[in-house]
Amino acid sequence: MKHKTIFITALVLLAIVFAGGIQIYRSQKAEETARTAAKNKEALVRVHSPTIGKANAPVHIVEFFDPACGTCAAFYPLVKQLMAAHPDDIRLTVRYAPFHPGSDEVVKALEASRKQGKYWQALESLLAAQPAWVQNHHAHADLAWPYLARVGLDTELLKSDMQSPDIARLIAQDLEDAKTLNVTQTPEYFVNGRPLPSFGSEQLRNLVEEELVATSKGKAG
């Protein structure tokens, strides 16, 4: 029937335009982010940021991270898994983008835990207990203390160390860099300066694999 043909044609055309539009928009956006990251290399990595992995690892993941962000917590095991699979080849740097209200206080405590040499333990403990201290998208630092004490941190010392102006400056710098790099959501990953083509765990895994292949070829050649 003629009407049905018109309707189905319209439906198919709309679907094609919509899907095509998504593809074009995403690839343009990713290119733009990569260009911004290339232009602002110093904004991507700062010496003050906590980093784990071998210093000469060829693949460098920079993560803009909010300890109160549920997706950040969900993605953390994946990043760890990738690093465990390639222990010599991947390095991770954590940059802060505490977008949740109250999250900056938790970041301060986290930064203070570096002084006691238990940063990564503190980070993992906080992420594992996230539902206990993040309620209705609000981070409550006062509820997070038990989970920091659990990994053997002196919480009284943390409370005084976290007031350091250096930590406040570090967070301000990270937020400014996030702005420069157009980071509006967490987690945002840059793998050797390349952003994810679109958000997703598969995309992160692929990007890391691509960079692993690209850098090992570079070494061989």
């Binding site: 009407h3 018109i6 309707f7």
Partner: protein, 155 residues
């Protein structure tokens, strides 16, 4: 009513008018679908968070896609009666939203005090085309097409 029963799809109307009626409902469906996809593109792909007034407009726009499609197969002239109230409600909210962004209604009257302020203009094309304007135009065109379909198939 001139008395006498009439079948669901208005069997007593002329085939040419019936066809014109179908085309008008189809045009309304097309507008609603384009608007829906556009709204989804803005929020899901471009990451523009909809304010509360936007959500109310979506509440009336999204169902039009399904309601109007249901009225096309088989052709049901009564679909206008079910779709027009949705279009009218959406139109009113779009008008309110547009006046708000143009500063013709003071901010204090807005229902959205928290979260994303509705008075903020997120996107602007050619210096005057904004999301609320597109919404108002779309609801207007849908309303006109439905009214046209109603008169074409009326006996």
């Amino acid at each position: 009513m001139s008395g006498g029963s009439r079948t669901l799809d208005g069997a007593s109307t002329q085939p040419a008018q019936r066809n014109a009626g179908w085309v008008l409902v189809f045009a309304a469906w097309l507008l609603a679908t384009i608007s829906t996809l556009g709204a989804l593109f803005l929020s899901e792909v471009m990451g523009v968070a909809p304010c509360s007034l936007c959500w109310y407009q979506r509440v009336f726009m999204f169902p039009l896609v399904l309601v109007l499609a249901a009225g096309l197969f088989p052709q049901d002239r009564k679909v206008v009666r079910y779709a027009l109230p949705l279009a009218a409600a959406g139109w009113l909210i779009a008008l309110f939203h547009l006046l708000l962004t143009r500063g013709l209604i003071p901010e204090s009257l807005t229902p959205c005090m928290q979260g994303i302020p509705c008075s903020r203009v997120e996107m602007e094309w050619f210096g005057f085309v904004t999301i609320p304007l597109l919404s108002l135009l779309s609801f207007s065109a849908i309303g006109l097409a439905l009214a046209g379909a109603h008169y074409k198939t009326r006996q």
